[in-house]
Symmetry: C2
Subunit: 270 residues, 2 copies
């Protein structure tokens, strides 16, 4: 199924705009998992199984696996999601970006090797660096636009002839890159008014919104500025606040509770 269809179905089926980010950090795992060879897989799979009916997507962050030499775990985790929770799309958070011939390799990595339904990418190198992802018309391509971190303004907010760079990026992607209707934009929850400006130029393009939870974004403001007319259009990602909500053997139940609370807090504003 096309990523966008999967996402729309999951929005409806689970009545949820929440995306759980899978950023495993063994130093934060519950004690009973410490040192076990399968700890990373077991931790992430338990989170997935406890939250799959509450989310619109999962978003594993590849650096957290690569730093652990755990690419094989990431492969198995995504296969686990597809097998146990079909219909919940997987966004591989890799923020890739390179010249065309290398971007083709990154597209193979994301879509063939890992079987991701969508991948995050960095637009700084321009169209031909993203085209090899876009050509997978059934896959989502989630492009950085206005990021949630403090340094996001360093370049993204520079004035480019009357509009900040991040809006030029959004305009260009909406007008020129989205021919297959498979683009999304990353717009941080920490800048809700700027998120609204992106929404104004991006039409109904889905926005991936990190920065809720640990980074302090405001749910009400994000919904106010970001919802589409049908009450969707947002993939609101939370990682640490869900993954590490509990520290004991009931960590997965704690994650479920935190996910439910976030889903409901979001839905209260829809």
């Amino acid at each position: 199924m096309h990523f966008m269809q999967s996402l729309q179905h999951a929005w409806q089926r689970n009545h949820s705009l929440v995306c759980v980010g899978l950023d495993p950090d063994p130093a934060k795992f519950p004690v009973h998992l410490a040192g076990k060879p399968e700890a990373v897989f077991d931790f992430c799979a338990a989170i997935v199984d406890a939250t799959a009916d509450l989310v619109c997507a999962f978003k594993p962050q590849i650096a957290h696996f690569a730093a652990l030499r755990a690419e094989g775990v990431l492969e198995r985790l995504i296969a686990h999601i597809h097998e146990k929770h079909p219909g919940v799309p997987v966004i591989l958070d890799a923020k890739r970006g390179d010249i065309g011939s290398t971007a083709q390799r990154y597209a193979i990595e994301a879509f063939e090797r890992y079987g991701a339904d969508a991948v995050t990418a960095n637009p700084y190198l321009g169209y031909d660096s993203i085209a090899p992802f876009l050509e997978h018309a059934d896959k989502g391509v989630v492009l950085l636009c206005r990021t949630s971190n403090p340094g996001g303004a360093d370049f993204q907010a520079l004035d480019c002839g009357g509009a900040p760079l991040y809006l030029r990026v959004a305009e260009t992607i909406a007008a020129k890159w989205d021919a297959h209707g498979n683009c999304l934009l990353v717009t941080g929850a920490t800048w809700p008014e700027e998120l609204g400006k992106v929404r104004a130029v991006a039409g109904d393009m889905p926005l991936l919104v990190p920065g809720i939870g640990a980074q302090g974004g405001d749910v009400a403001a994000v919904l106010h500025h970001g919802l589409t007319t049908n009450g969707t259009g947002l993939v609101i990602s939370s990682s640490r606040a869900i993954l590490y909500a509990g520290h004991g053997e009931d960590f997965a139940q704690a994650a479920r509770t935190a996910t439910t609370q976030l889903r409901d807090a979001i839905n209260a504003h829809r």
Copy 2:
């Protein structure tokens, strides 16, 4: 040793500004390596061993390993370079970029797991996304500035208050990010005049220059616009034109010949 020292020593010792990019593509390997389980390692190690006295750096491109599920090969290849050719620095071409807590994981991936001496990174997310790399003061951080691909102009050339974005990036890095003296900038050989503008604002900061060879960059123009006053300051990267110079059992010798020719063509303009 500090990456910058290694680079300066290699520039002098090998009288070379050439960096060989290691982008293994099994479809282009010589027939006698086809299908062998160690083909990727054997191919890359043969290229390395045949050219190590002719280069100032090696630059493995991680997508070409990741698409093959060959992270283990990349680890062994970098270890091989350090063991057999100490003093030739390794630049891991990964173009990473993410928020600070994730960037820390990417820094672990590049410097601890792979043992790279430098890593390429994307500046779009701003200072805090790069700081975890910069804090490794003995490592090089090679930041995208003006890239060699056709789409490089899409955003990099946008006018930001009287100067293009890529120059704002260069200025910011030179003025604010380079406190440890461990930054480099990527400036494509395909835009030599723009490379000269970067040189004008970046002082003696080394420039990594892809786009010579397969992408058609002009050696004379690059040297004219990019050399520092001591006749160095450039890391001129060539991948396909060297790796696939030969197609038979003598591929490594052919790569050596191509590397020698490029080194000499460059040195003729120094």
